[in-house]
């Protein structure tokens, strides 16, 4: 509550003035003007009047990233538009499709449905962060190549992250367990079988 009360002062600034101030501060991620309103549908979803950005520190892919974040901003938008991590895809922006899956403290989440402010102090891993320390592909990524799992590829980052999260908590899942774990990741190309083959290959190789 107090957090939002503090921000009331900023309502007195117009949006343009405020954005100018943010840009002038120069202390934050360069894409600070790409702010975000509710976009899940054609109709206006109702933005938060006078919502202001606050500078926060996030732990993303093992690095501390300082970024200005709006109260209503989702993690997917912060990653894509402020931190340049465009591997996280937006397929529906309402938790239906799983294309935006990231790990929060090793658990898979739809980043379109997580407010960025809520992940302060948590470990965020995106598809860009699952590679090994020397840039080598994660066994899941390699297995997805070997099984020709992706078709159009748009859902693939989400499939990768869901699979990596599964193997973190269960290194030897059954095919049925893998199917259940990835069930929130839609693939319109219908490559489910190849992704499951990939998960099973990855756990046998690692």
């Amino acid at each position: 509550m107090s957090e939002y009360c503090e921000e009331d002062e900023a309502i007195r600034y117009s949006r343009r003035e405020f954005i100018k101030r943010v840009i002038a501060s120069g202390a934050v991620a360069s894409a600070a003007t790409y702010v975000y309103g509710g976009l899940a549908g054609c109709a206006r979803q109702g933005s938060v009047p006078g919502g202001v950005e606050r500078l926060v520190s996030l732990n993303v892919n093992g690095q501390v990233r300082r970024v200005d974040v709006l109260p209503q901003e989702t993690l997917a938008m912060t990653l894509r538009y402020k931190l340049g991590l465009t591997g996280t895809k937006l397929g529906c922006d309402r938790g239906d499709c799983g294309a935006c899956t990231v790990m929060l403290d090793d658990i898979a989440h739809n980043s379109c449905s997580v407010l960025t402010h809520s992940v302060r102090g948590r470990k965020v891993i995106t598809v860009e962060g699952v590679r090994g320390p020397n840039g080598e592909l994660h066994p899941v990524q390699q297995a997805f190549i070997d099984e020709l799992s992706p078709q159009c590829g748009f859902c693939t980052p989400g499939q990768v992250v869901s699979a990596v999260a599964l193997l973190k908590r269960n290194p030897n899942p059954s095919r049925e367990q893998a199917r259940a774990a990835l069930a929130g990741n839609l693939c319109r190309c219908g490559a489910y079988e190849n992704y499951l083959n990939g998960v099973m290959r990855a756990c046998s190789s690692s």
Partner: protein
Amino acid sequence: MTYKLLGKNFIPPDVVAKVTGEAKYAEDFRADGMVFCRLLTSPMPHALVKSIDVTEALRLPGVVGVLLPDEVTPVPAPNPPILSKEPQYVGQPILAVAAVDETTAQDAIEKIDLDLEPLPFTVDPLQSLHPDGPDARLDGNVGAQGLKLQTLKWTAADFAAADAGHLPMGKSAEDWVYGDVDAGFAKSKVIIDESFVTASNSHHSMEPRTSFAYWQNGKCFVHGSTQSQSFVVPQLAQYIGIKPTELNYISEFCGGGFGSKGTAFPSMAIPALLSKKIGKPVMMRISRAEEYYIGSARNGFQGRVKLGFGADGRLLAADMYIVQESGAHNGFWDFRNAADALSVVYQPESMRWRGVPVYTNTPTRSAQRGPGENQIACVLEPLMDKAARKLNIDRLQMRKVNAPETGSKVGSDRRPVTSAYLRDALEKGAARFNWQERSARSGQRNGPKVTGFGIGQAYHPAGFNGFDGLVRITPDGKLHIHTGVGNLGTFSHSGTARIAAEVLKYDWENCVVERGDSRKHLPWNIGQFGSNTSFTMARTNYVAAMDALKKMKEIAAHDLGGKPDDYDVDGGKVFAKAHPAKHLTYAAVAQRAIDLGGKYTGKELPADINPMTKASATALAGSGLIGVAKDNLPVGGETAAFACAFVELELDLETGRHRIVELLNVGDCGTVIHPMGLETQLKGASVQGVGLATLEHLIFDPQNGIPGHVGLYQARPATYLDLPEKLSTDWVDKPDPTSPMGTKGIGEPPLGAAASAIVCAISDALGGYVFNRTPVKADMVLYAAGELPMAHRPLQVNTQ
């Protein structure tokens, strides 16, 4: 025939970027000063814009500009406009607002004073054909590409005369006939006459059709999400109002299209036009809900089909009438394709077809994977089973007796198919599936669960011709295959590039596939749709490689003596057949091509190539040995692909749900280029078939014209949980004689084969109950199992 590369698996060059997240789709690009735009869309299914006042919106801080319907390039009706003053469906774009962020743009839209006059509307084609029925457009209710926009009404007598539950059949807009249909029915032992409904369904591409545009040095740059690359350019340039040479189009990755992104679509021009007006880069992100409005869908059918069979199961006569739900604009000609599918898959001795494509106040339709062929498969295959039961013929035999062969005819013009091995596919699939033994268990009960078996078949044309190929060998010895085909996710952009490598005996490691960006100097190629790439692009890459090969031999003869025919290529060298030591390396030949100039390096070009290819080859001239040619190879008829599927499922009569125990999909797809790629097409199509058969449909509120399917959870594409427990594939590896190496496409038929096999298996589990409606939903199964009337009326659309 053994090939060095064809028939072997490889890692497509774009797959690594897909698993690492480095693959950039349209929404992943940025430019300095980028602003966002949002669309003001119609809240009414049909209306006239009386006035638009944007004064207040423009005063809002952060708003950069607006784009109004009068400011966009006019598109001739009944094609979908870029922005509309007569919106014809809920969600149709009327204007666009650019602002520093999307929230501001959306706030600005709230401040726009829009005066709309509501007009009559319809979301049911039969309603529009009624004498007093509303028209979806002010200028008519019937039309299609190749069919003049008109007003067509049936008489009250047409409607009154129709039997209850049967499609009324008034005046058609198109028709054709071959053979003596009346005589065919007269000699038939069994006649089936059924009316049916197939629902529209969304393409559900995972990447919404976002586009991003900016202008630099007089050129327009557009990052789009399209299945096709070169094919998009002329039409998109026209939408933007510029010459094709003034457009740089980038679509290296496309997050799914399934027909809905095969060509340029009007909304792509909005950020380009807005960017031109305000002088800033414009990103237009499309939401999932908006994708259901401007993203198009498969056409729905209300139809009737009468089939007459001989005692041996042979189809003697067919008479089909299709009323197509076309959406508000010219969409696609599914209604014609359905007729071709019937004519070729079952080879009726005589056939009549009639069709009426009717506009409705629903989103624009476009081709969806097997447009027409796959819906009608779900109608016809269960009727083949019904006839087989009446004739007491095995269902496999029923299909084999009617199956097409190479040279069999398609459609009203009785064009021959260049190859057809559907019967081989049926035999191969039946053997592998163990159809005879397994299907004997049909109807077996296990508590509330009943086992059912089904066979499905489908067809689609599988290739075009007449496009250009362009390859280049650079002085580093690399072969660059320039392809404008697009990246739908089939990997066939690279699969067909291997045809050129095969001709020139290149190691794949020394090949570079140049694609996805106009600036890579790409030839004029067909789009990546219609199951055509594996045929069309095989031909173009073949002719370009053959041109390169000819030039390589000429250069060797010029430098080393003798005649060009004295030389051959392999192992990175052009060598004298008699004295293999006498040779030039590919690298040296490329350098010599540059030295010799003229045709060898693209400074003289064939006269018959497309201007786009000419411009690309000219830009590349002097950089190596250029192979460039138009595909003038002989055309022997229609290249056709077929597939058949076998299904075992368990239907729960207490819940109406089912579990697919096994689905086997078998393709008739010519020479196999890339086995793993082929397998993913067959499997992916099977999964989409699950959706077409049992899950997906559009639904509109008839009172307000508002859609009830604007989320994935509502429109219901198949998920992991819908996956058949066992999903297998196979194919008939027999070459098509009109493809240089025997290849042809396969993308579409396995979807219809899978979907129709599932519908047949559900029907089988219910003892042969025919639904005549897709998707078959759980409630329909329960009504059928309980021998109760269905909740929907016959021919009703927009049902649950």
